[in-house]
Subunit: 261 residues, 2 copies
């Protein structure tokens, strides 16, 4: 029996989120079904984060104990053979016996994609939020810089546990244009933090887009951060634009960090 | 009654191609159903091209006659209200009474996207073909340059009508990397020509990828072009990587061309 660390990618469109539920199709539920084909006898895998209904992942991290006599690459191939088209293992490695993808994580990175178009666009909307009127990228970047650092984000989400801390440290947050010869304009928001509150990225993106559309000024970010939990921000960007990109863990040598993706 | 020109985008995943069929869900069939909600009494719309099962479009062009009392923008909105999520009108304009989206077209542009990854990737595979081993982009571009000009492409597809000419003029053909911070590497192949044979782009892409993987040399393109219809190329890249991007029409002033997209 050994512990394995898996990088998992999925298209969340048809799942009721990551976390297992009794009467809903979830990524965790489908992944555990695949594991049982490999004689896994556990009750629950461990995961870095719980993505919401419709949210995607290119680098979710899960771990489990398995009695497996072949290589990690053979485990990857065996799992992918039992997983549906919209879920796929990207990497499989051996991990320490006590590795925990959530508690050991030092930071997470999410990406949120928007595009600016007046009419709907079937080729973009599966993985992005359509916004109109157009946004001012520099205003959104100025507002994003105000997020960086340690703040109480209670106005932008709730702690996983009732009464848990709503203080988080944002390590980076910026918008960049997706290089593409195609119109319309597409922008990616990348944000990394030690951890995130429930709904935090989608709540921030909604606010930043309104700032980009000049409905609100850049100072709106400061106002919500200075009145945590009182001045609760109500908007929420839709799930399909959000992707869990990667989770970072301490460097095994102990001197730094290591990106899982 | 007036003729309207519509730029149409669709995700072809769930359609048995563009062209109407008696017992299959097609883009044309669904579009005509939407038009009938606007009291359209015609029997068939006109279209620039027939895309295959699973092929996408960002700039298909269709035309029809309609007794419509409001603006073209109102027509766009009314049609999109009756179309499903995976089909959407991008632009609507008045056209000449005799405008024909196929016969008036002077060129078409298709894009084919590939990505290079050893394991499958749920977030890319809806709109791209996964190829492995990695490809050499410069070799594929050298081979693509050999396609440019007027050639008999009988080895790469068949004419729309039996006995029709298989000679076509390729105006441009090149591979470029999709700018993206994400791995894996994604490449776009853009090809424009006066017109295309049935299966021509997918057949060419399959050959070019094999050249990129060093399974064949660049001279393979010349060999197939010099023996049209005798040395028929058998491979076909899958449909989901292909998108009809745009159709060009003569400039109304008569001195040049105008891109529809």
């Amino acid at each position: 029996m050994a512990r394995y660390q898996i990088n998992l990618a999925y298209d969340g469109t048809h799942y009721q989120g990551f976390q297992k539920q009794a009467r809903a199709v979830t990524v965790q539920g489908v992944f555990e079904d695949a594991l049982r084909h490999l004689e896994w006898k556990g009750t629950s895998i461990l995961a870095a984060g719980r993505t919401d209904t419709g949210v995607h992942a290119s680098g979710q991290v899960v771990a489990f104990d398995l009695d497996w006599k072949h290589s990690p690459d053979a485990l990857l191939a065996a799992l992918n053979a039992h997983l549906p088209r919209d879920i796929a293992v990207q990497t499989a490695t051996c991990a320490r016996d006590d590795f925990h993808p959530r508690f050991d994580a030092v930071s997470r990175c999410y990406r949120y994609r928007i595009f600016c178009q007046a009419v709907r666009n079937p080729l973009l909307e599966r993985y992005a939020w359509r916004v109109w009127t157009p946004v001012d990228q520099s205003q959104m970047n100025e507002a994003s810089r105000a997020l960086i650092g340690a703040h109480d984000f209670a106005s932008f989400g709730s702690a996983p546990r009732r009464g848990g801390s709503t203080r988080r440290t944002v390590l980076g947050a910026s918008w960049s244009q997706v290089c593409s010869s195609d119109s319309p304009v597409q922008l990616n928001f990348e944000i990394s933090a030690d951890a995130f509150l429930y709904h935090m990225v989608r709540s921030l993106v909604h606010l930043l887009v309104r700032i980009g559309q000049a409905e609100l000024g850049v100072e709106a970010v400061w106002e919500h951060l200075s009145q945590p939990g009182v001045d609760v921000y109500q908007g929420l960007a839709p799930a399909q634009g959000l992707t869990l990109v990667s989770v970072r863990y301490p460097d095994p040598v102990g001197n730094g960090e290591m990106d899982n993706n």
